[in-house]
């Protein structure tokens, strides 16, 4: 799927940097660029973009003002690009795929694009909101006789192991001397959500909901793994995926 994108930022160098980074993504077609919220409004009417890269702090009207004045059916998927973490929490009230704090790297941009694609295609209905402006992006674990630092985005899901936790990353898994609750609180809430008393899942890995062989509700991950879905969390997941079990 080609993503038709609009870049909204009052600073020309910021727009050109984003354009340069997006050049590496063949699936993105930049249909227009706006230097202000007012200009963006007109361009949205004209181009109906799938995704809008939106700066928050702009003179006159801010990015959030723009979203508030847009009718919800006209609202493209939003990827915030901003120098401040302050608005990260309220930003998720809109059709938000991600909140990128400038300067961001290609990995973060790729993830935001993947989320935007899933939202624009209807594969996902919403992304959970952040609860904190700062969160852990690496997790220290001890394996193979040393401390390894696992990038949080590489974690598929986390299971409880007694009082501790186990990180599942592809074929590898690592024990961690931390409680699930502590991990849930310290990781990015827009990426990691609790789906069971003893499981946390990376939103970007969720593919669909199924009933397991024994009839219990489960989540299918991109890897094909099945993760149990607790009754308390079922409605939320169904709403997020737009799928009824």
């Amino acid at each position: 799927m080609t993503l038709r994108a609009l870049i909204v930022d009052d600073e020309p160098p910021a727009r050109s940097r984003l354009r340069r980074l997006l050049d590496a993504h063949a699936e993105v077609d930049i249909v227009a660029e706006a230097g202000s919220a007012r200009e963006a409004m007109e361009l949205i009417e004209e181009h109906h973009p799938d995704v809008m890269f939106l700066d928050v702090g702009m003179p006159e009207e801010t990015g959030l003002d723009l979203l508030r004045s847009l009718a919800s059916e006209k609202q493209p998927v939003v990827v915030f690009t901003t120098a401040h973490t302050d608005h990260a929490l309220s930003a998720f009230n809109f059709n938000t795929a991600d909140y990128l704090v400038k300067p961001f790297d290609v990995d973060r941009l790729s993830r935001a694009l993947e989320r935007a694609r899933r939202l624009a295609s209807g594969e996902l209905r919403s992304i959970p909101a952040r609860r904190t402006t700062r969160h852990r992006e690496r997790i220290a674990v001890r394996a193979r006789g040393e401390i390894l630092f696992i990038k949080a985005t590489l974690v598929d899901w986390i299971s409880a192991e007694g009082n501790y936790a186990r990180l599942h990353c592809g074929n590898a898994s690592y024990q961690l001397r931390e409680s699930l609750q502590n991990l849930e609180e310290s990781l990015d809430a827009s990426t990691f959500i609790r789906v069971h008393r003893s499981a946390i899942v990376n939103v970007d890995r969720i593919r669909k909901l199924v009933s397991a062989v024994d009839g219990s509700p489960s989540i299918v991950l991109a890897s094909g793994e099945l993760v149990p879905l607790g009754p308390t969390y079922r409605a939320r997941l169904e709403e997020m995926l737009g799928q009824k079990l």
Binding site: F104, R138, I139, R142, I147, F149, N163, R177
Partner: protein, 354 residues
């Protein structure tokens, strides 16, 4: 009991009630002690004293003392004997107070017994009461004054210990802030210089450094605000810095970090270890290897930072070095081509709750 800003103690109602109950309890025990002693003595010499009468008199005496004790406390507290400048003056004041108080106490006691027997207090009985009880009451007053001074001295030593602890913590923080203030700009300038060199030839590399540097600064500000963090969080932060350093020196830095697994959950003051790691790598840019090891030794978190290779590290100012040595048993040594910095942090393990 709580200490207010000026360091003087203020007592809550609960504290006062507790103290009052303690005083009454001590005097009741003394009443029973005296009564039983008196009773046995009178039995031995063949007197006809009855226990009921003896205990009634002793209880009354003790309870009057219980009422009078706070007065002695208050006077002894107001004129403490172990102050630096006024102890002689206070000694004279208490010396004058003690016999006067003993006389008043004797008169009140005598009068009370007369009233209890249905008679009006008389001057004769007051004189008699003073003659009989003066020595004993002087002794008791001195005992109460002595006890008050012992309690005051103990409380002061506890407060002094707390003050010393707070002062040490403040000094440590100041020392670390000083070291951090020296290190952070160096890392920034070093990285900025590197970025400017790459902008034309390697814009993507420059971009990576810019993102790495801003991530590191954000993380530093975030951790700096907190009183303590886990070792895992500290190491995650250090890993960010090492990534930046590796990007800056184009892979000429090799690192290995090893801590015993349970130590990852230990609580430490933020950025102590990070600052020492920055200091260890400061100035170098050639081939280097860095190893950070953490072990629990004798209930302390013992950490070693071992560096081999290119070095141009400047020397920590002696005063700062001394502070770090005192606070964290900082020890620097050289083994062959390796520079090793060892420190010991207090080990606070927090159990994981399910």
């Amino acid at each position: 009991m709580t200490m207010n800003d000026s360091g003087r103690s203020t007592r809550s109602f609960a504290d006062l009630f507790g103290i009052a109950m303690l005083i009454v309890a001590i005097w009741l025990i003394l009443a029973f002690f005296n009564a039983s002693e008196f009773y046995r003595r009178s039995m031995a010499i063949g007197g006809d004293s009855r226990w009921n009468e003896i205990i009634a008199v002793q209880l009354t005496t003790s309870l009057i003392w219980a009422i009078f004790t706070p007065i002695v406390f208050a006077v002894a507290e107001r004129f403490p004997l172990h102050t630096r400048r006024e102890s002689f003056r206070n000694f004279l004041i208490l010396g004058a107070f003690t016999p006067v108080f003993a006389v008043i106490r004797a008169i009140v006691g005598g009068a009370w017994h007369q009233i209890a027997e249905g008679n009006a207090p008389t001057l004769y009985f007051a004189r008699l009461s003073i003659a009989v009880r003066f020595h004993r009451y002087v002794f008791l007053t001195i005992v109460i004054i002595g006890l008050t001074n012992i309690i005051l001295a103990y409380r002061r030593s506890v407060m002094r210990e707390q003050d010393t602890f707070a002062l040490q913590a403040a000094l440590t923080n100041a020392a670390l802030a000083q070291l951090r203030a020296r290190m952070l700009p160096r890392v920034m300038f070093e990285t900025l210089r590197n970025i400017s060199e790459r902008v034309d030839t390697d814009p993507n590399g420059a971009d990576e450094l810019i993102v790495g540097l801003s991530d590191l600064l954000r993380s530093t500000l975030d951790l700096d605000r907190r009183a303590e963090i886990t070792v895992a969080e500290e190491l995650e932060h250090i890993d960010r810095y090492l990534d930046l350093e590796k990007a800056r020196t184009a892979g000429r830095l090799t690192t290995r970090i090893d801590f015993d697994e349970p130590l990852l959950a230990a609580r430490v003051p933020p950025l102590v270890l990070h600052t020492l790691v920055e200091h260890a790598l400061d100035g170098g840019s050639g081939e280097r290897t860095l190893e950070i090891r953490g072990r629990e030794i004798d209930g302390l978190l013992s950490i070693e930072i071992e560096k081999e290779g290119d070095a141009a590290a400047d020397v920590t100012p002696p005063r700062l070095e001394q502070l770090l040595t005192d606070q964290f048993s900082l020890d620097r040594r050289r083994e062959g081509a390796k520079d090793i910095v060892a420190i010991e942090l207090p080990l606070r393990l927090v159990e994981v709750a399910s």
